[in-house]
């Protein structure tokens, strides 16, 4: 991978972590916040495909794991799988409009949060109540869905110069 792309993606991830901690974590709805680092992973999958999306998802997840108190590697595993599956699904469907980006961001974020709760249970973290998981999935999905078009734009900037860009019409 082009070192400049790596540097730009790294910069986007660190900036997302700072924004998440300093700003977005303060703005909560039903005690649920947007998940910018997950969004970075999903946007990478949309822009650069499942393989690179998975790598970015893994790195973004590790950055979260370093800042929260849950089994180390759990978020990395979840984000990596979410990004891979989204990237793979995107190869099978016709790419659409800005609205479809929002819907994709919503669905992928909601499923990633449900996946996080399930994987957490598998590695011994007590699961929250199903109602709470659903609330978090839906609200975080809405937050991230609304932010997805912007995230895709930023990620396209980060990946510029790379030969295998997708979503060129977006």
């Amino acid at each position: 991978m082009d070192p400049r792309v790596v540097a730009r993606v790294g910069l986007v991830m660190v900036s997302a972590a700072i924004l998440q901690r300093g700003i977005l974590a303060e703005f909560r709805l039903w005690n649920v916040t947007a998940d910018l680092l997950l969004l970075v992973a999903l946007a990478a999958a949309m822009i650069a495909g499942p393989e690179r999306g998975a790598v970015v998802g893994f790195a973004a997840g590790l950055l979260v794991d370093l800042q929260v108190h849950r089994p180390f590697g759990l978020t990395a595993l979840t984000f990596c799988l979410a990004a891979y599956l989204l990237g793979f699904a995107e190869t099978l469907v016709v790419r659409g409009s800005r609205n479809s980006l929002i819907v994709t961001g919503f669905v992928a974020t909601a499923l990633a949060h449900i996946g996080l709760a399930i994987l957490g249970e598998l590695v011994g973290v007590s699961a929250p109540s199903p109602g709470r998981v659903l609330t978090v999935a839906v609200v975080a999905g809405v937050w991230n869905g609304l932010l997805t078009p912007g995230a895709v734009r930023v990620m396209r900037w980060a990946w510029q110069g790379s030969h295998s860009l997708r979503l060129t019409h977006r």
């Binding site: 649920v32 108190h69 990395a76 957490g120």
Partner: protein, 274 residues
């Protein structure tokens, strides 16, 4: 052919990443030292930056949270009025209730913290992710804070220190799903273990002796041997006890005394810890 080769490479990458994640999970489960070091280092970097930005955005965030929590504030207000009315009635009717009220007043002055060495700290940011019931405070190992120490506020127990850097610490709130608190009712026999469920203000636990607990009772830390919390710290107020006939168990639901979503300062009790 080319598609198949490319798909195969993708799968290899994915499998490698999954294996790495599993390896990290295993190392963390074995309390691998470098992971804790990396977490402390990351907190030392991000906490001051987050503190700076959250100081700038807090006024706007307060307006935001006030606007979206209006119903909740109104409900809390009604509940408080109801509680005050109940307590006034009981004061007149029952000497025992008066005694209980005195005990509550004493506990609100947090003598538990006054009698012990402590460090006052400011909350610099909440948890960054969902399902993450932690906050970060602006005091760390340089103030004598260690992992496992209890954290309280004027109204009661807040949580436990789980990560420590030089000038910052991470506190896991008692509403976290993996935190368990042994509690009892003042001057009554019987204990219960409450745990969080990622609900911002609720704890729950299974109890055997239902008669020990009644709605409205204030639960304090039991301080039994091996407990990480000193005895007598107010934790929650019993909201309801429900019987699950199928499972044959009584579930106790309790409302946390401290409003955890609206904290600014906390006190770390400098006892215990590792």
């Amino acid at each position: 052919m080319a598609f198949s080769r490319r798909f195969g490479r993708r799968r290899v990458t994915l499998v490698l990443l999954i294996l790495t994640s599993v390896l990290l999970l295993t190392l963390d489960a074995r309390d691998f030292g470098p992971i804790n070091g990396a977490r402390s280092g990351t907190m030392g970097f991000f906490a001051p930056v987050g503190d700076f930005f959250s100081t700038l955005t807090r006024p706007v965030a307060n307006i935001w949270n006030g606007a979206f929590s209006y119903d909740e504030l109104e409900r809390e207000n009604r509940q408080l009025k109801q509680e005050l009315s109940d307590r006034k009635g009981r004061e007149v009717q029952d000497d025992l209730a008066v005694k209980e009220l005195e005990q509550l007043k004493t506990s609100l002055d947090i003598p538990f913290a006054n009698a012990m060495p402590s460090a006052r700290a400011r909350i610099v940011s909440g948890g960054i992710a969902n399902f993450d019931d932690t906050v970060q405070v602006d005091k760390g190992s340089s103030s004598g804070i260690k992992r496992g120490m209890a954290v309280v506020s004027g109204a009661g127990l807040v949580g436990t220190v789980v990560e420590v850097a030089d000038g910052y610490s991470m506190v896991k709130l008692i509403t976290d799903r993996d935190v368990q608190v042994g509690v009892k009712v003042v001057e009554k026999q019987g204990f219960a273990i409450l745990s969080g469920r990622s609900d911002p203000q609720r704890l729950s636990g299974v109890v055997n002796n239902v008669s020990t607990f009644t709605a409205g009772d204030v639960l304090v830390t039991s301080g039994v041997e091996g407990s990480r919390y000193p005895e007598g710290i107010p934790v929650a107020r019993v909201a309801e006890i429900t019987l699950d006939e199928i499972a044959g168990k009584n579930t106790l639901e309790a409302d946390v005394l401290v409003t955890l979503t609206d904290l600014e300062f906390v006190t770390v009790i400098l006892m215990g810890g590792v």
